[in-house]
């Protein structure tokens, strides 16, 4: 099979893109270890199965991360039921480097407060550099729905930041 990215240095590619890929993995993780596991499993699957495919590798890796994330959730839900884990464990996952600018720090916190379906659009568009068409394919929604969710998320972020500024 023809390798569309035969000259690609995937170590270097991961070094450039690992941070935002981990951010996507964080959307599915309840701990740092889970985020790392999702990222590792997804990238290895992409690298072994799909790295030779033509097109935007970002989208393919994102697909793989979502799949690993879903697998993790299924496993975690069973584990959580067994161990009766309670509480919002997502608070323990670090998404961003600490920001000295209070507005950026507020923005990072506000992002976490978005509904998951809106937050995912933001992450895929801003850090994944995916178009609404590509996001629609990822999430099995229309590009118009993706764009609508993007607008809702921007409105919510703006409201939240203004509210925090006035507090």
């Amino acid at each position: 099979m023809h390798d569309a990215h035969s000259s690609q240095d995937w170590r270097a590619w991961f070094a450039r893109n690992g941070a935002w890929l981990r951010l996507i993995a964080c959307q599915w993780a309840r701990s740092e270890a889970d985020a790392d596991d999702v990222l590792q499993e997804a990238f290895v699957r992409f690298w072994k199965h799909q790295r030779h495919l033509p097109g935007n590798p970002n989208a393919l890796v994102v697909t793989s991360i979502r799949r690993s994330g879903l697998d993790l959730l299924r496993r975690s839900d069973r584990r959580a039921l067994r161990e009766k884990v309670v509480g919002d464990d997502q608070e323990t996952v670090t998404w961003f480097e600490p920001e000295s600018d209070p507005r950026l720090a507020a923005l990072a916190e506000s992002l976490k407060l978005l509904p998951a379906e809106q937050r995912e659009i933001v992450v895929l568009k801003v850090w994944g550099d995916l178009t609404f068409d590509e996001i629609g394919e990822q999430l099995s929604i229309s590009p118009n729905t993706a764009a609508s969710r993007w607008r809702y998320s921007m409105q919510a972020l703006r409201r939240n930041i203004i509210a925090r500024t006035h507090d």
């Binding site: 690992g18 596991d37 850090w127 703006r158």
Partner: protein, 138 residues
């Protein structure tokens, strides 16, 4: 429509997502270094054992400075994914008969954990095989 949120989007881009930790980077490096082989139309990935050994070595290296004992991994999870079956258009074989190519992909994943060091080892083996379903023609 989205231009009115340009400033907000730029502010979001200024946030710096946390980079993956050294452990996951080392594990990935071990996976990428593991050999894989292809043979004809049947693709067989052979990274499993080599990757597991390399990953264990990476863990041992990372834990080596302050931990004199190597991790002791216990199997905690084994899973085989639902196979993905892809059927292609019928083709004529060399003997004049017809067959439909079929591609089957599935993944075997085992997960090992060491409670003392709270480290995990994932052995992931994707499988990808191509075969033929004979067709009877009248």
């Amino acid at each position: 429509m989205t231009d009115s949120y340009h400033d907000l989007e730029q502010a979001l881009r200024a946030l710096r997502p946390t980079a993956p930790g050294l452990a996951v980077t080392a594990r990935l490096a071990a996976e990428l270094d593991a050999p894989a082989s292809r043979s004809g139309v049947v693709i067989a990935w052979s990274a499993g054992l080599a990757a597991a050994a390399a990953t264990l070595a990476a863990f041992a290296f990372l834990a080596g400075a302050g931990e004199p004992e190597a991790p002791t991994y216990q199997l905690v999870h084994a899973e085989r994914s639902r196979p993905e079956v892809q059927l292609f258009r019928p083709v004529e074989l060399a003997d004049g008969s017809y067959a439909r190519p079929v591609r089957v992909r599935w993944e075997d994943t085992t997960r090992w954990e060491d409670a003392r060091t709270q480290t995990r080892l994932i052995d992931y083996r994707p499988n990808d095989q191509l075969g033929f379903l004979s067709l009877e023609t009248h």
